[in-house]
């Protein structure tokens, strides 16, 4: 039985809408004096972070605690991993301690899949970002933010994002956020356009369910949301563009470009933002930028995912996914 959330592509439209609807109710818990639900009492969740992260780790931890789960935090720095322990041994150590779910962030694409399908552990595996592969909860919280802003909080219940035009701009090559968003937004019926310099688009992009453009200015007037991606310098080992100033001039979002967007369109950023590079301070601080809202929505989405995967005797989402090859 699948109890994992590895990729946004594993979710059907109904799964995704159920997660968004559940998150809408979870969001209301944040307005209460006691921000806690007893739902995951007695379940142990490990946050296994092999890569640096602030917002995702804190967001998962907040979501787990609001659902009353017992939380164990693990970061590679200062653990046995820095002494040379393998993923397998780390996983089996956790299994021996009896954890119910593992939230994993790893620099290697496919590490969560390996953990889920290797037979090393019985726990549910939730991907919190792996290499340049997937970051499904980010895509879900982005879709949640779009549905709230473009369709409406109550009007959006039960609805997908059919016909919404979403533009994703920047370092698509290194971005798991872009990959997850393309998969999920396509499932939800939105039309996605990727905009980037040719060097920052991956090989095989023509098979993705989206449009590709090299020109930001011509795309902006006809989109409902524009998502700016950070240029991931830590993953770059070659020169992908001549200078930062040139990149910023052609693919950065400043006040003048924002003025070309339709009145209702929103500006999104998964964070961390590099002000002056892909987004100017003027845009980042404007009311149309949803970066802070996305962080708040992240907690609600992660509560929804944890509840739907772990709240019952079997998961309410992703169980239709065909099982991958079992390796020992």
């Amino acid at each position: 039985m699948q109890r994992h959330l590895i990729s946004a592509a594993d979710l059907t439209r109904d799964d995704a809408v159920l997660i968004l609807d559940t998150a809408e109710e979870m969001a209301r818990v944040a307005d209460r004096p006691i921000k806690k639900l007893p739902t995951l009492r007695g379940r142990t969740i490990v946050n296994l972070f092999f890569e640096d992260s602030t917002r995702t780790r804190i967001s998962f931890e907040a979501a787990e605690k609001r659902l009353s789960a017992d939380v164990i935090n693990f970061s590679a720095k200062g653990s046995s991993v820095s002494k040379g322990e393998s993923l397998k041994d780390t996983a089996q150590t956790l299994e021996a301690m009896g954890v119910d779910a593992v939230v994993i962030r790893h620099g290697a694409s496919g590490a969560p899949y390996r953990l889920a399908n290797s037979g090393w552990i019985d726990a549910a595996v939730i991907n919190a970002g792996d290499g340049t592969h997937q970051h499904p909860t980010q895509a879900l919280l982005d879709a949640f933010t779009m549905r709230r802003r473009l369709v409406g909080r109550d009007a959006g219940l039960g609805q997908d994002l059919a016909g919404k035009r979403i533009t994703i701009v920047g370092d698509v090559l290194h971005s798991r956020v872009a990959r997850s968003n393309v998969d999920l937004l396509h499932t939800l019926g939105a039309e996605v356009t990727l905009v980037a310099p040719p060097t920052l688009l991956p090989v095989g992009i023509e098979t993705w369910p989206c449009e590709v453009s090299y020109d930001l200015d011509s795309t902006l007037p006809k989109c409902d949301a524009v998502m700016m991606l950070r240029v991931q310098r830590e993953r770059m080992n070659a020169a992908f563009f001549p200078t930062e100033r040139e990149y910023s001039r052609r693919y950065g979002l400043d006040g003048d470009r924002m003025a070309k967007l339709p009145e209702h369109a929103i500006v999104m950023h998964p964070g961390p933002m590099v002000r002056g590079m892909e987004i100017t301070a003027e845009v980042a601080d404007s009311g149309r930028c949803t970066a802070i809202e996305q962080v708040a929505n992240g907690v609600s989405i992660r509560m929804a995912v944890l509840y739907l995967l772990l709240g019952g005797n079997e998961p309410a989402v992703t169980h239709t996914r065909p099982t991958g090859s079992e390796e020992k």
Binding site: L37, P38, T39, G312
Partner: protein, 190 residues
């Protein structure tokens, strides 16, 4: 249970309360609430989804007619507080809507369609605990069918309906099902 089975069961089921009966029962409960709460100034009605919410809204209208004051009315979803969460796949959540002034120091009247094992009400009391501290909590139900598994009782009962565990009680309301009725049927063979 699939749709066909459900329809077959509905045709066997015998109505024990019809639309006008339900309306009369709700009027009586509204009067009882006013009587016991000595005017119902601090009453907050909280319906338990799905059908309890509609009953609470109907009670709010009747209370307003009697007291000529608006009575706060909301909903309380108990899904996350259920004691059988781990026995089923996770259920979709319903809306919890607490009226603006909250429930602290108020007389909360929980409203549900059928009182059976009492477990739903236990979950509702737990949920209330996380939202505030009412002055008192009372319970209004349309049908009490008995077979309590917890020491819980209703303060206002529309109809006491002695049943066997082989029977099902199904409340249908116009807002959700298109008509008002309470059906008593035989449980489908398992």
């Amino acid at each position: 249970m699939d749709k066909q089975q459900q329809d077959a069961q509905a045709s066997d089921a015998r109505p024990v309360l019809e639309g006008p009966d339900i309306a009369r029962v709700m009027t009586r409960i509204a009067h009882e609430i006013v009587e016991r709460a000595k005017g119902a100034d601090d009453v907050v009605l909280l319906g338990i989804p799905t059908r309890g919410v509609f009953l609470a809204q109907r009670l709010a209208v009747k209370l307003e007619q009697i007291t000529e004051r608006k009575v706060p009315c909301g909903s309380l979803d108990i899904t996350m507080y259920r004691d059988d969460l781990r026995m089923h796949p996770p259920r979709a959540l319903a809306r919890t809507e607490i009226p603006g002034d909250g429930i602290d120091g108020k007389l909360v009247v929980l409203v549900d369609d059928v009182l059976f094992s009492g477990r739903t009400i236990r979950a509702a009391l737990d949920a209330l605990n996380d939202i505030g501290r009412p002055r008192a909590v009372q319970l209004a139900v349309l049908v009490d069918r008995g077979h309590r598994e917890l020491p819980i009782r209703a303060d206002y009962v529309g109809k006491n309906l002695p049943t066997s565990l082989r029977e099902t009680v199904k409340v249908q309301l116009a807002e959700e099902d298109g008509r008002d009725t309470v059906l008593l049927g035989a449980k489908a063979d398992q």
